[in-house]
Symmetry: C2
Subunit: 170 residues, 2 copies
DNA sequence: ACATTACCATACGGCTGCGTATGGATGAAA
DNA sequence: TTTCATCCATACGCAGCCGTATGGTAATGT
């Protein structure tokens, strides 16, 4: 419901109907609607960003290799499912905005770290990380992601080259 | 209402109350709620992107100068007001998504044109334009825009340098 | 066999919002 | 002055959704 129609359509009666139960059941598992909504951001974080950040830590090689690895990892994944819905929600709920901002920070900190490892100064790395990460966000939010894995990989290669060609290992 | 709470809170009765009138008045000016919603995308386009694209056409100098001009124009503006709400809406409404995509296309086509003018091949310019434009989108949607004009101008300069340093006029 | 726990259905009251029907009120035109 | 168009208020029926109260069923422990 969140992904397909937005947070305002996460309602208990339609939800119960979609699950083939009644809302009497819902109120057994959750205190109320708000209680359900509060559980969503954490669910999202564990499912959507923890795996990626774990992957980059485990990737072999130098920072550029790690970048390539993370890009290919993302390119092979199915296009985003939750990020857009969470961002849409975050626009109108400060608490959710904070949760999303925390995720953005974690992701961008990783990118920052990689660019510093690649030899950039702290401020330069910070900006380059923004450029790096915002490309992801932009592609998702404008739904400009190519449909085939091949095209996504090609774009990833292009992106890596453009963002690292002036660095030592690039 | 759209900006502050999202499209699902654009309801006729709360809206009428906020305006100090009754809904009897609303149904004089609009056929129904859907009729109001349909008018919003066009309102947004005229107000939010037409001025920027007109500005870049009128800017003097070469493509790099035009880029600098547009960045400074945006930096001096107040941070975005409608884009985020429209994108949040577009996530869940195909018609709105099409309208937003059309705006994205117009903006990105302008960027593409500038990079081609600066000497890039069509595919290179297309990618560079994405990198350019998605930075905007990312900054908006993550609410990472600095509060002061000075900081925004500084970031703009940094961004221009990074995205054009390998071009002839850069 | 009985009681307890876990899980779900039914039924209710209340609120909010949509759309329509109808009735003013005001100003311009004839 | 009468008529008509414009703009807004009032009042109604209807539907969707929330949260609670209450009852039912199946499994489990004693």
């Amino acid at each position: 419901m969140l992904r397909e129609h937005g947070i305002d359509h996460v309602k208990v009666e339609p939800l119960a109907q979609r699950l083939g139960v009644t809302k009497g059941s819902f109120y057994w598992h959750f205190k109320n609607r708000q209680d359900l909504l509060k559980s969503l951001p954490e669910f999202w974080a564990r499912r959507q960003t923890d795996p990626v950040l774990a992957h980059v830590q485990a990737a072999p090689g130098g920072p550029i290799d790690k970048m390539r690895s993370i890009l290919e990892f993302i390119a092979r994944e199915d296009p985003d499912q939750y990020d857009n819905a969470m961002r849409a929600w975050a626009q109108f709920d400060p608490e959710v905005a904070a949760a999303v901002a925390a995720i953005d920070d974690r992701r961008m900190a990783t990118a920052r770290w990689l660019f510093e490892e690649a030899g950039l100064s702290a401020p330069d790395a910070a900006f380059r990380a923004r450029l790096w990460y915002f490309y992801d966000v932009g592609e998702h939010v404008t739904r400009d992601t190519p449909d085939t894995v091949e095209e996504r990989l090609e774009r990833a290669a292009h992106r890596l080259k453009l963002l690292t060609s002036d660095l030592v290992s690039g």
